[in-house]
């Protein structure tokens, strides 16, 4: 009996003791791997880095559509415009927008208006890129976790958000900030005046997309462009790192190691080598490599390399050129692009201004690549280039912008607005038979959205156009 009582009390006491010890013993669920909060500057670093990669990802997604690049293999889906799954690119775009939303809230709370302004500009850019690729996308129900199946917003309405974000961004960048941006900003290192120019340049880019539409105002574009970049020194770019190579450089390195990629389209080479146009473009040898025989030979989109070997018989991206040094910049937005926007906007009303902007756009790109003055002058005075203000055509503006925005995703927006009407542009071999001979107008919604948010995903075909492409 005594023993029984003893047991009872020991057991009781030990249970009570262990109960209080329990609490602290079990308090080990704090995440040892990830913090619950992050500094604004840490977010800025990743946002600027990832935004430049989003430009790369988008550019890589569409470079075969605008025939900068071509697959070495026949019937490759990226050449033939098949519905490919861009779940990864979609994730990256929304991942950066999520971080931007987070950073902007923190910046606003802290009165760090420069961070807020820069954040709004980059949110506009990432949203704009997403809309340009996919059309209607979720945004108004995004990031605040009120629903797990956010609805899709109208793409034209979203363009309103893009412009308004840029306007707010400009206002905040002009305001007094509690904290200053510094080396955490991989684009400008905290140079606020240039951020403001960048915001205007982007605004000009998104405004020009509706050229020909009802609400378009060329004057507004020109006024905006005037506050944009004034030289190549203003270019928005992220210079890559010894520890992390420029992704186009990586493609060139991979191709050198026979992991094929970065093959140049026949269309692009013929536009620059004197085939499609009478003048040979001095930029060609600064942008892409030659065959072993020192020639520029492209690959026909959709047809593959035929009997050509993997190496030496076709032009590809090669390492250590302007776009392909391991520490080359990834270009987000350039002075050259702005000049072509200006040329397009002025074309209807002010031909001389358009013509000057057209020449300046070419020159800015050539300066960027380091074309010699002699070669530059030769090209800029060649009859097929220096056509004079009155003979300037939209075709020429689009052609030169196409060359100047090599590998940049903005070109696909231009190509769609221009109906792919580049000179001698031919549809790819083995074109996706479901397109009925037409060319792709948008990306398919990614598999991840179809499976997770299927009820909201609009039913579209690859021929359905985004709002500004009508």
């Amino acid at each position: 009996m005594k023993l029984h009582n003893k047991i009872r009390s020991i057991l009781g006491a030990s249970l009570v003791l262990s109960a209080s010890a329990c609490e602290s013993f079990l308090d080990v669920n704090t995440n040892p791997n990830s913090p619950v909060d992050a500094p604004i500057s840490g977010l800025m670093t990743n946002i600027t880095y990832e935004t430049s990669l989003n430009v790369f990802r988008s550019g890589s997604a569409v470079s075969n559509y605008v025939q900068y690049l071509a697959s070495p293999n026949p019937d490759s889906g990226s050449d033939t415009m098949e519905p490919l799954n861009f779940s990864g690119t979609w994730f990256s775009l929304y991942n950066v927008m999520t971080d931007l939303n987070e950073m902007n809230i923190k910046a606003e709370e802290a009165g760090s208006l420069h961070y807020l302004g820069a954040g709004q500009v980059l949110l506009a850019l990432n949203l704009g890129m997403t809309v340009d690729l996919f059309g209607d996308v979720p945004f108004s129900e995004s990031f605040n976790f009120t629903t797990v199946t956010p609805k899709y917003d109208d793409d034209q309405v979203l363009y309103g958000n893009v412009i308004s974000l840029l306007d707010q961004g400009i206002a905040n960048l002009r305001a007094t900030s509690q904290t200053s941006i510094g080396a955490d900003d991989f684009i400008y290192g905290g140079d606020i005046p240039t951020w403001i120019k960048f915001a205007h340049t982007l605004k000009a880019r998104y405004l020009i997309h509706s050229n020909g539409g009802s609400g378009f105002s060329a004057a507004e574009v020109l006024a905006t462009a005037a506050a944009g970049f004034t030289s190549n020194a203003d270019n928005a770019e992220v210079i890559f790192f010894e520890q992390r190579f420029n992704p186009w450089a990586q493609i060139a390195i991979n191709n050198e190691a026979l992991l094929l990629g970065g093959w140049i389209s026949e269309q692009f080479i013929e536009a620059l080598d004197g085939t499609s146009y009478p003048v040979v473009d001095p930029r060609l040898p600064l942008m892409i490599g030659t065959t072993d025989a020192g020639e520029f030979v492209g690959t026909e989109n959709g047809a593959g390399r035929g009997n050509a070997p993997e190496q030496g018989a076709r032009s590809t991206l090669i390492e250590d050129q302007f776009y392909t040094r391991t520490v080359s910049p990834l270009l987000i937005s350039t002075f050259s692009e702005l000049k072509f926007i200006e040329a397009e906007a002025a074309f209807a009303t002010d031909k001389p201004r358009a013509y000057q902007a057209y020449l300046n756009g070419i020159e800015a790109h050539m300066d960027m690549l380091g074309v010699t003055t002699v070669a530059k002058t030769a090209y800029l005075t060649a009859p097929s280039v220096a056509v004079g203000a009155s003979a300037l055509t939209m075709d020429l503006i689009f052609k030169e912008k196409w060359v100047a925005l090599f590998l940049h995703p903005e070109t696909w927006n231009d190509a769609r607005r221009f109906d792919y009407a580049y000179k001698d542009f031919s549809p790819p071999a083995n074109l996706n038979p479901n397109l009925g001979g037409s060319l792709i107008r948008r990306l398919a919604y990614p598999d991840s959205e179809v499976s997770r948010n299927g009820a909201n995903v609009p039913s579209v075909s690859l021929l359905d156009r985004v709002w500004w492409d009508q």
């Binding site: 023993l3 029984h4 047991i7 009872r8 057991l11 009781g12 262990s18 209080s20 329990c22 609490e23 079990l26 308090d27 080990v28 669920n29 995440n31 040892p32 791997n33 913090p35 619950v36 992050a38 500094p39 500057s41 840490g42 670093t45 990743n46 880095y49 293999n73 026949p74 019937d75 519905p83 490919l84 979609w90 994730f91 991942n95 999520t98 939303n101 979720p138 995004s142 976790f145 629903t147 797990v148 199946t149 956010p150 080396a183 955490d184 790192f241 520890q243 390195i253 190691a257 026979l258 070997p309 993997e310 083995n430 598999d447 959205e449 179809v450 499976s451 997770r452 299927g454 009820a455």
Partner: protein, 1030 residues
């Protein structure tokens, strides 16, 4: 301390108020089995002619008061012949009981290593013995359970050396695609780690090992499978999916015994897809020597060129795998102490070149009976395992790309570079891109039992399971030789160090009382503490400065990462067993768990169970041919926590940083619901067990139903929400089914004996509810070309495992129906080809509706022969391999590429299609350009073509053994000698066109089993084994 504790305390202490006291003249002793000298716990001792009696304790000891020296004690135990002994002047009576001629497999090792009479269980449990475990020669004990136990589905994830195998008991309980739905593995009373840590990166799946494979099957005495929540309530949350209780071999009192076991085996590919051999490298029917396309080229016969012949690469690429397994054990002991020690070494080479695994084990265990009141035991098991893990998905993908007219086995140049026409050679890659793991693991436990009186025992058990896993991945970069194709443009090395430590502490008190001849009770209360710490450090270097020198310091870009976790559980439990007249058995349990992984407000949860067994054959007069009959019923709950460190939202620093001295942060894409509650599974079970004709035949039937609600699921959500995954209590799943076990000895005549046992399981499940606001939960998806990606999706009211994907358009389909009806006619488009429907329809279900196995054993004099057949049916899987074959023109069907046919089906206007179309590439005989052709334009983009019936019947094992006869063995130094030959998986019947449909790509850890991917192909094996005993 939460409210629940108070309840638990009351529950536990309520039973303590009853303790016997009577002190008279006593007889004590121990009851052991004649066969193995093991103590018999629960044996009954009755004073003849009276109703006074007792039962033996866990170690076989008993103590009984007798009126006088004339008393006769009757010792009895199910499955043994009873024995009557007069007491006389003895105060100690040790008794040896012999097994009765035909026993009923009566004992089951249940929770905490307690051997329990199966007769007394109110739930279904099944055990298999060492012979059945080792006869299949599986190096992984999970595989040894294949087809042997009702309700248990074992799936080998592939044929790689050391590759994981998955075990699921009574269906999926947790819907979380990454949840471990596998049972808890318990070795000698201590739970051990059975996780499968796949390679950290998603570049390649490598078929890693599930950790229980570190146990040498030769050391195992028995395994019992506890299926329902009732059986496992005492182990708590970690046993929510059941438990596999492994009891290892122990030393026995008597002379020292030595056993030697040696086995040699060979593996071959068991099955291949049907492949075409008529067309070679190139595209559009044109031969191209360096084309990326392996078999869309010219007709080989028409080319008639010795440089363009079919190479039979699929047979050249796979080797004959080998397995060599040796083990030696020494055991023995005295009345006071026993020991068992063993060494084992296994070396295996797989059918994919350069895939290897080896395992070295050493084990020492011992028991000491210090006094009648105190005994202790302990064991320590050391394992070193690992090998080179060839990434099977990548190997098979590269096989897919490899030209059918170029010899794949001619893969290396004299200078060591890859010999290739352009594509990466799979064998070269397998040889030089290595991934080696090296696991050192120690599992140990110590047990103390102290019985101050005959009705009270204090027990303590401490278990530890440490493992360190050192992994090195090397992908060579360019070797600096022009024109050579490197495996990686820079080269990379990744060093991974994993340290894992499990500690389990279990203290319990056992109180026993035989109230009178009718009533016998046993109460156990205890406390259980568990901790698992895990730490993985990864360092990756890229871009080797000196080619071929593989060290992190020889790279220009270095990234590091770390993953730590800590999970702790504290449980309090009580277990009351009541036995009335040895034919009604009632068992009530209660347990309260507190988990560190849940929010503090929800982390303590109580769950009870009750079960009842009624042996009516001891209560009623039954026909004489009914030897035994029992009914049982149980109701039980069990809770389940979540993974550590998932609550809330976090920020992560991507491993690419620091860059320019800056570290970037990004919001983590996973959000853990801060109000997460524990999952709760409630299960009911009814069963009956019969034995007929003096145990010549037996039958066991069980019906079970379990509902798991508040499922904790990482729901994949739109990236546009700001997260990609939301961990929350999101649903309820119901599993129900029948388990039938039939067995017996149809023939026993002279020296000949035939035993048979068969099991059959049905499982039906339904997603009963999904949280409001979530329409569906994506379990996983697997890639298919151009819109043929398939997704496993959960929707309310549907079964788990539905595979969604694209299909052919069928005009007659009922509006709004979600399930594809393959019997309806297809719509043929204006181009003459079947039209594709991109809407996601249910194309099949990946959970088998019916599975089972049958094992036959024959013995005649010194010969034994046995075979095990198992099957599964009623399931479909996604054949990703088929999808790739279609894209690359390698499947047999593509031999029709020179044909022009009319697709059967209806046109949009309802008329029958009559338009002939050419199936090949380019311009057909009709002058129409067919582009990339039927298979690339149409077939590969339609998921329906690749969601196929994955039913199979396998001859899982066949064994012939010869035991050296006693007359012969007397002339040798050996006590026993046995030679056996065995074969596994040599017969496979399945409608599946591919490799063995049992292989799947995800590894044992995941639940997305419907995706076969490019898994490591299944193998058939042959073994020769020699056992010698000294």
């Amino acid at each position: 301390m939460k409210k629940n504790y108070a309840m638990t305390l009351l529950f536990l202490l309520g039973f303590l108020a009853s303790v016997p006291l009577y002190a008279q003249q006593t007889v004590k002793g121990k009851v052991i089995a004649q066969e193995d000298g093991e103590p018999l716990p629960g044996a009954s001792i009755l004073i003849q002619g009276t109703s006074t009696g007792t039962v033996t304790d866990i170690d076989g000891y008993y103590s009984i008061d007798v009126p006088n020296a004339d008393a006769v004690l009757v010792f009895s135990f199910i499955g043994f012949n009873s024995k009557s002994l007069p007491v006389g002047s003895a105060t100690t009576l040790d008794v040896v009981l012999a097994t009765s001629a035909s026993d009923l497999d009566e004992f089951i090792v249940t929770a905490f290593g307690i051997s329990q009479e199966k007769k007394s269980l109110g739930y279904a449990a099944q055990s298999i013995d060492s012979e059945a475990i080792t006869s299949t020669r599986q190096q992984n004990v999970v595989n040894a359970l294949q087809g042997q136990v009702a309700g248990v589905q074992v799936t080998s994830s592939g044929g790689a050396p050391g590759q994981s195998a998955r075990i699921i008991i009574r269906g999926i309980n947790s819907l979380d695609p990454s949840a471990d739905n596998q049972p808890l593995f318990v070795v000698d009373g201590v739970p051990v780690d059975n996780s499968t840590t796949e390679a950290a990166d998603d570049r390649a799946v490598r078929g890693m090992t599930n950790r229980i494979a570190d146990i040498n099957p030769n050391d195992i005495e028995t395994m019992s499978v506890l299926k329902g929540a009732a059986a496992t309530a005492l182990y708590g949350v970690r046993a929510a999916n059941g438990a596999v209780i492994i009891t290892t071999k122990k030393g026995k009192a008597g002379e020292i015994r030595v056993n030697f076991n040696s086995s040699v085996g060979f593996d071959n590919l068991v099955k291949k897809p049907r492949l075409q051999d008529e067309y070679g490298q190139g595209f559009s029917g044109a031969r191209q020597e360096n084309s990326f396309w392996p078999s869309w080229g010219a007709n080989i016969a028409e080319e008639n060129d010795p440089n363009y012949v079919y190479q039979d690469n699929w047979n050249k690429a796979f080797n004959t795998g080998t397995l060599i397994d040796n083990s030696l054990s020494v055991s023995g002991g005295s009345d006071k102490a026993t020991f068992y020690g063993s060494f084992g070494r296994l070396d295996q080479e797989g059918i994919i070149p350069f895939s290897t695994w080896s395992r070295t084990t050493a084990k020492l265990s011992g028991t000491v009976t210090a006094s009648e009141k105190f005994n202790f035991s302990g064991s320590i098991n050391f394992t070193n395992s690992g090998g080179n893990r060839v990434p099977h998905d990548r190997f098979l993908e590269r096989m897919m790309y490899w030209s059918e007219t170029t010899d794949v086995s001619d893969y290396i140049n004299e200078d060591g570079t890859m010999k290739t026409y352009g594509n990466t050679n799979p064998i070269y890659d397998a040889r030089f891109a290595t991934y080696e793991d090296d696991v050192n693991r120690v599992i140990g436990n110590v047990n103390f039992n102290y019985s101050p009186t005959d009705w009270l025992t204090f027990s303590y058990r401490l278990g530890a399971d440490f493992s360190s896993d050192s992994r090195e991945e090397i992908t060579p970069g360019p070797m600096g030789i022009d024109g050579s194709l490197a495996l990686d443009p820079l080269g990379r090395i990744e060093e991974t160090r994993i340290n894992s430590r499990d500690l389990t502490s279990n203290f319990y008190i056992t109180l026993k009382k035989q109230w009178n001849e009718n009533w016998n009770t046993q109460l156990r209360v205890g406390n259980d503490v568990f901790e698992r710490r895990f730490d993985r450090v990864t360092a990756t270097g890229e871009d080797f400065v000196i080619p071929g020198f593989y060290n992190l310091s020889n790279t220009t870009q270095i990234f590091a990462g770390q993953l730590k976790s800590n999970r702790r559980l504290v449980g309090f439990y009580g277990d009351l067993m009541v036995d009335y007249k040895n034919f009604i058995f009632l068992n009530v349990t209660g347990r309260n768990d507190i988990s560190s992984t849940l929010p503090t407000d929800n982390n303590s949860f109580f769950y009870p169970s009750v079960n009842l067994g009624y042996v009516f054959s001891e209560n009623f007069e039954l026909p004489s041919w009914v030897t035994f009959g029992k009914l049982r019923a149980s109701w039980a709950q069990v809770g389940k926590d979540t993974n550590p460190h998932v609550l809330g939202a976090f920020f992560v620093a991507p491993s690419v940083f620091p860059l320019n001295g800056q570290v970037g942060f990004s919001k983590n894409s996973v959000f853990g619901d801060p109000n997460l509650r524990p999952e709760l599974t409630t299960s009911i079970e009814f069963g009956t067990q019969f034995a007929f004709f003096n145990n010549k035949a037996n039958l066991d039937v069980t019906y079970y139903k379990s509902n798991s609600r508040d499922q904790i699921i990482p729901v994949p959500i739109s990236d546009a929400t700001g997260f990609s995954s939301y961990i929350t209590n999101a649903g309820e799943i119901e599993n129900q089914g029948w388990e039938i076990v039939v067995g017996g000895t149809p023939i026993e005549r002279g020296d000949f004996r035939w035993d048979v046992s068969a099991n059959l399981t049905t499982n039906r499940n339904e997603v009963k509810a999904i949280r409001e606001g979530i329409d569906q939960i994506v379990i996983g998806s697997q890639f298919g070309y151009v819109g043929s990606t398939v997704t496993m999706i959960l929707k309310e009211g549907q079964a788990y495992g539905n595979i969604y994907g694209s299909s052919y358009t069928r005009p007659g389909a009922v509006e709004g129906t979600e399930t594809l009806d393959r019997d309806l006619p297809q719509l043929i488009g204006a181009n003459g080809f079947p039209a594709r429907n991109g809407n996601q329809l249910i194309l099949g279900n990946a959970v088998p509706k019916l599975f089972g196995g049958i094992r036959n054993q024959f013995s005649y004099k010194s010969f034994e022969f046995s075979f095990l057949v198992d099957f599964r049916s009623g399931l479909e899987q996604y054949n990703q391999f088929g999808n790739f074959l279609s894209a690359f023109g390698k499947q047999e069907d593509s031999e029709r590429r020179d044909q022009t046919i009319v697709f059967p089906g209806v046109l949009a206007n309802g008329e029958q299609n009559e338009k002939p179309v050419f199936l090949g590439q380019g311009v057909g005989p009709d002058g129409v350009n067919y582009g990339a052709g039927y298979w690339r334009n149409s077939v590969r983009g339609v998921s329906e073509n690749f969601v196929n019936d994955a039913t199979f019947i396998k001859l899982r094992n066949i064994t012939l053994a010869y035991n050296l006869s006693p007359e012969l063995i007397e002339r040798t130094p050996f006590r026993t000698a046995r030679l056996s030959i065995a074969a596994n998986n040599i017969l496979l019947y399945t409608p599946w066109d591919g490799f063995d449909p049992e292989s799947f790509s995800a590894g044992a850890g995941g639940n997305a089993v419907g995706f076969t991917g490019l898994g490591f192909p299944g193998v058939q094996s042959y073994f020769v084994t020699l056992n010698l005993g000294l």
